[in-house]
Each structure stands twice: as C-alpha cells, then as structure tokens.
C-alpha cells in the first residue's frame, strides 16, 4: 500500500492547527521569497518551514528530502542555464557559454527562491488536508459550483487512482510492460479504460446523489479555531522574516 501525500496531511503533528493560519503562513512565505532581492530570505524561510515540518509535523525527513529533490533538480537545470546565458563581465567562458558574476547571482537567487517556494508549498500540502482547504475556499467567496466540483474531483482522484493501479498491475501480471512497444500500447489501453470507467463512475455518482435527495448542496466541515499559542509562534515567524526582508532590501539599496 502506498502512502500518499494526502495521508500525511491527515496524520501529522500540525493537524490540529487552524488551516487558515497554515495557509496564511504558506502564502506569506511565498510572497516573502519572491519579494526578496537576495537568497538570504528564501533560505531562511526554507530553514524555518523545513524545521517546522520535520520537528513539529513529524514528517519523515527522508520523505521530505525526496519530495524537495524533484522540483529542485529542475530548478538546478534552469538556474544553471540562466547563470550561463546572463549578460555581464565573464569570469569563465567555454565557447558560447559565459559565466558572469551577475549571472551567478541571478542563478543562485532563482535556486533559493525555488527552495523557499517549494518548502512553503510542502508546508501547506503536508500539514493541511484538502478537505479543510475546501472550507476556506468557500469562505473566501469562491463560486459554490467550483468548490463542489473540486470536492468531487478530489474524492474521485483516489477512486480512479485505485482503479488505475489495479489495471496496471493486471497488465504487469501479463507482461504488459515488458518492452517499450508493449509499454506504449498498455499505457494507451490503461488511459482509455480509465476514461470509460470514469464516465461510468460519473453516471453512478449521479444516481447515488439523487438517491440521497440531491438538491444542489454539498456539506462542508467546520475548521479548527486559531489557538493563541499557534498565533504567537506564527506572529514571531512572520515578524522575523519581514524584518530580515526589510534589512536585505535596505542593505541592497544603500
């Protein structure tokens, strides 16, 4: 049985913290990372949130590193391209590729922002279940139908995922992925059968909803209230990052 990110969102040390607060911290962190002209702020953000995820939310560090490595590998590639193609006085040059001081700085900034942003997103994704985010989305005034649709989509992701895993193992059992050729045709088959099953599910869903007197409303859960302790810690975090951000901006302009 796979453990999905969603499972961690439901069982972690920060589950009891108000989702609004967690969302606010995540959003603030992303903005701080983008606003910062130097890598210091994004790196500080990443350090704080990673520490919170591992120490407070008790997310296994191996999993967390593995997760961050995925976007980071892309970021590393694009950061090096940016670094090598930026204008400026060349420090080293190999053919058409020149590494300038400005380019190196830009690449570093890009990389650090990615690290900070990734940590912020995982902070939300690993501690806050989607089910609680739906309630916030609605209270923020998003259209009802959009929220309801996303709730149904969320639920059926897992139903279809299970279906897909079953079909895939049935194919693997009969050597469906033994060569590139058969892999391609098996994947095509998997996609088409999933489409048909999704369609059937949709029809059965409609019957099930009608059987329970559907008149256009989906229930939402009450979210946790904000606790003063949590608020204080978040406040300290936001204040220190803001202070750092201001210091960096002033230092840069001075």
């Amino acid at each position: 049985m796979h453990r999905l990110l969603d499972d961690y969102a439901h069982e972690n040390g920060l589950r009891g913290v108000s989702p609004k607060l967690k969302l606010a911290i995540g959003a603030f962190s992303i903005i701080a990372c983008i606003a910062s002209p130097t890598p210091a702020v994004p790196l500080a953000v990443s350090a704080c949130l990673s520490a919170a995820l591992i120490a407070l939310a008790r997310i296994p560090w191996r999993l967390y590193i593995g997760l961050t490595a995925i976007p980071l590998s892309f970021a590393l590639l694009s950061a090096s391209v940016v670094a090598l193609l930026s204008p400026g006085e060349a420090l080293v040059s190999i053919g058409a590729l020149r590494l300038s001081r400005e380019g190196m700085w830009l690449g570093l900034l890009l990389l650090s922002r990615t690290i900070g942003g990734t940590s912020s997103l995982f902070f939300i994704a690993l501690t806050t279940p989607m089910t609680e985010i739906f309630a916030i989305l609605r209270s923020m005034g998003l259209p009802e139908s959009l929220v309801e649709l996303s709730m149904l989509i969320y639920r059926y992701i897992f139903v279809l995922l299970e279906e897909a895993m079953m079909v895939r193992s049935a194919q693997e059992m009969r050597m469906g992925y033994s060569s590139i050729r058969s892999s391609i045709s098996s994947s095509a088959m998997l996609a088409s059968v999933l489409f048909i099953r999704a369609w059937e599910r949709g029809e059965r869903l409609m019957v099930a909803m009608d059987s329970r007197c559907y008149s256009g409303r989906m229930p939402l859960v009450e979210s946790h209230s904000v606790r003063p302790g949590h608020l204080a810690v978040s406040f300290i975090y936001i204040l220190s990052i803001t202070a750092l951000l201001l210091a960096v901006i002033r230092g840069g302009s001075a």
Binding site: D6, D7, H10, P129, M130, T131, F134, M151, L152, Y154, R155, Y156, F158, V159, E162, R201, R204, L205, V207, A208, M209, D210, S211, R212, C213, Y214, S215, G216, R217, M218, P219, L220, V221
Partner: protein, 398 residues
C-alpha cells in the same frame, strides 16, 4: 402487517430492447426482512432501483404505501427520504471528501437546519460505531467501514425502508455478519429491510420472505423454508441448496433422520434434529445470562466472567460491541450470538450475552422460542434486574 412497497405487472425494457423485468408483481410487507435471490442478470438490481424511483417502469406500476409512485422531483424527494438505497459498491455512494460530510449530505439537501444536521450526523456516526473516523476521507477506510458509512448516510434521513444491493459482497465473513446483524437490529426497531444477494446461506437464515428471481421474472416468493424446499427450482435459477438443508436432505435419504414438518433454518435447528434422532437427551442445558450494558457497570461484567459462571461471552448490537471494545473484553461471539449461545447451552455450557435496549427482549424471545421448539429448559438470567430484586431473578422458561 401492511404492504409498504408493491410492484404490479412491472416491466422494464432497456434502451437496447433487452427486457430486464417482465411482469413482476411483488408485495413487500412493512417491517419485514426481504431477500431477493437469483443468478447474475436476473434483474435484482433493476428491481431495487424501481423501489426508490431511480428507474421508472416501462409498463405497470410501483406502489408506495398503496399510492402509485409519482416521478416529479418533489415526490421523488419524499420517496427517497423514505426508501434509502445502499449501493453494492460503497465507492459509488461515498462521494464527499470526509465521512462526516458524506453523512451530512442527505440532511443538508433536505434543508434541515445546521444544529439538527449536526445532531443527526452525530447520532448516525455513533450508531454505526465510527465516531473517531468522523474527519477521515473515505479512501482511508476499510471495506466494512465504508459500508457502515454508506448505511449511516442513509439512516440519517430516517427512512422507513432500507434497500441494500448485495450488502455483503466484498466483505469478510465476520464483517458481513456484523452488517447483517446491524440490519437485524434496525429491523427490530421497525424498519423494512430489502436486500439482494447470491448468497443462499445468508438469505435462508436471515430473511422472513425470499423472492426468487430468474430472467427478469419472479419465480417464487414465500418464507425461506418454502422457497428453498424445491431443489429443482433452485438449480434452474443457478443457485444451490443452503448447506443446512443439503445436510438435512442427505441424512433424510440415508434414514439417519425422520422427516419433520418444519425444515431446519440454521445449525441450531439441525443439531437439535440430529441429537434427538441419535437419542441424546437429558443433559442439563447451560444457562444464558443476558446483560443490559446500559444498566450494568462494566466491573460487574468482569465479576461474572471471573466467577467462572460462564464459559463464553458474546455481544449483540453496536453499542454492546463498542463497550466490549472499550473495556477490552475478549468476545467469543460477535455475530450470530443468540444461536451460538443456544448451541453452547444445549451442549451444557453457560454463556453471557451483553446487549442493550430492545435487543435484550429480542434475545430473550429468540432463546425462549428455541427452547419451546426443542422442548428443553434453558435458564435465562437477565442481569440489571438481578441487583434490584434480592435473589437472582430467574426467568425459567418452563
């Protein structure tokens, strides 16, 4: 008894011209337990979908409380509130992101006020024993738990009729029995329960009324011992005899048993027939204690257990099972409790049944009727009464 749901000459023809139901006439009595049995493609599921107005007969009429069903949206809402449908695949039914939201779906759409929804959802959750799973998403639940949530989502609308399509498919035997026991409990409180199944053992033992279907037609209806008495009809419908009946027939054919008027419904009946044929009698039967947990502190249950007066303990009903779980009582029987305790009593061993509310009388009645049938004395001791009246309040059956 009055008819709550009825079908009169109902035909249903699918778009491709295939007839799923042909001239089906059927009457479902209020507060009865009905099992639809038949092979795959017999039309069981189609018939069930007629009962809550999801499908509309091509010809003929469906009656609800004697009135022909109407298919405008207001009438349909009324019918679906009264006739709750539990689908075979729980994943089709559980579409909300969490258990609580899923159960609240029906009441919310019926326009109940917020505090009423909360109260009802809490009640339904505790009834099916899933309070601690309230905030979990359905994909974190086991098959049995999903089925319970599906049932809770229907119960919360307070239906008069529960319709379940293959309620025990994909469930392990113990979970199946627990689900069926829950349906028994609901039936005891007056709900009509209609199920479809291929499981002849289940239908034979559980139902008051069996409807045998084949090829879109109702072949036979009647009490299980009548419908299952004819092996030829069953074979034609691609079903088999329940094991109890098969053993009975075999023993009859070999002259080991004498024919009886009333066929054995379960192992208790069969064992009694065998024992009386073998001439085993005169053994002193064991006692059965029935303990109402709402009136008994758990410490008293422990005292009884440690006194050595009983050899077995079983729990009936959701509430009793929850208490047993909390008190870490190791249950010998968690389903089919009365039957098993009667079997043990006949074998001379005593047992304790923990249960609550109306189930106490139900259990007592069942034991009494077994004792009467077999002409033996089983001493039944009901426990909360024991500490109000001075000596143990024995209810001697004869």
């Amino acid at each position: 008894m009055s008819e709550i749901l009825g079908l009169r000459d109902v035909c249903y023809i699918y778009g491709d011209g295939h007839a799923a139901l042909r001239n089906v006439t059927l009457s479902i009595e209020s507060s009865s337990k009905v099992a639809l049995v038949g092979p795959n493609g017999a039309g069981k599921s189609t018939l069930l979908l007629m009962l809550n107005g999801t499908l509309r007969p091509s010809s003929g009429v469906v009656l609800f409380r004697g009135q022909p069903m109407r298919y405008d949206s207001r009438s349909l809402t009324d019918i679906r509130k009264s006739v709750g449908m539990v689908f075979q695949n729980s994943d089709d039914q559980l579409f909300a992101p969490t258990v609580e939201q899923d159960i609240a779906f029906g009441p919310l759409n019926l326009g109940y006020p917020g505090d009423k929804i909360e109260r009802y959802v809490g009640y339904a959750l505790s009834y099916v024993g899933l309070e601690e799973h309230r905030n979990r998403p359905p994909h974190h639940l086991s098959g049995g738990e999903k089925k319970r949530v599906a049932i809770a989502g229907i119960l919360v609308m307070e239906p008069d009729v529960l319709v379940l399509d293959e309620p025990t498919s994909n469930l392990d035997p113990a979970t199946s029995e627990e689900i069926m026991e829950m349906l028994d409990e609901l039936n005891l409180y007056g709900k009509t329960v209609v199920i479809s199944t291929h499981d002849v053992e289940l239908a034979y033992r559980w139902a008051d009324e069996v409807v045998l279907m084949d090829g879109g037609e109702v072949v036979r209806t009647g009490p299980p011992e009548k419908v299952f008495a004819d092996p030829d009809t069953l074979r034609k419908a691609r079903l088999k005899l329940p094991a109890v009946l098969e053993i009975y027939r075999e023993m009859l054919g070999r002259g080991l048993l004498a024919p009886v008027d009333e066929l054995p419904r379960n192992i208790v009946d069969l064992m009694h027939l065998i024992e009386s044929a073998a001439g085993i009698s005169g053994r002193k039967p064991g006692r059965i204690y029935i303990c109402d947990i709402s009136g008994t502190p758990p410490s008293r249950i422990r005292d009884i257990l440690s006194s050595g007066a009983v050899s077995y303990i079983g729990a009936m009903g959701t509430k009793a099972k929850m208490v047993a779980n909390e008190e870490l009582l190791e249950l010998d029987f968690s389903y089919g409790v009365v039957d098993k305790c009667v079997l043990k009593a006949i074998a001379g061993r005593s047992s304790l049944i923990i249960t609550s509310g109306g189930m106490v009388e139900h259990a007592e009645r069942r034991i009494r009727s077994y004792a009467e049938e077999f002409g033996i004395e089983i001493e039944v001791i009901i426990l909360p009464r024991a500490h109000t009246s001075t000596p143990v309040d024995n209810i001697n059956l004869y």
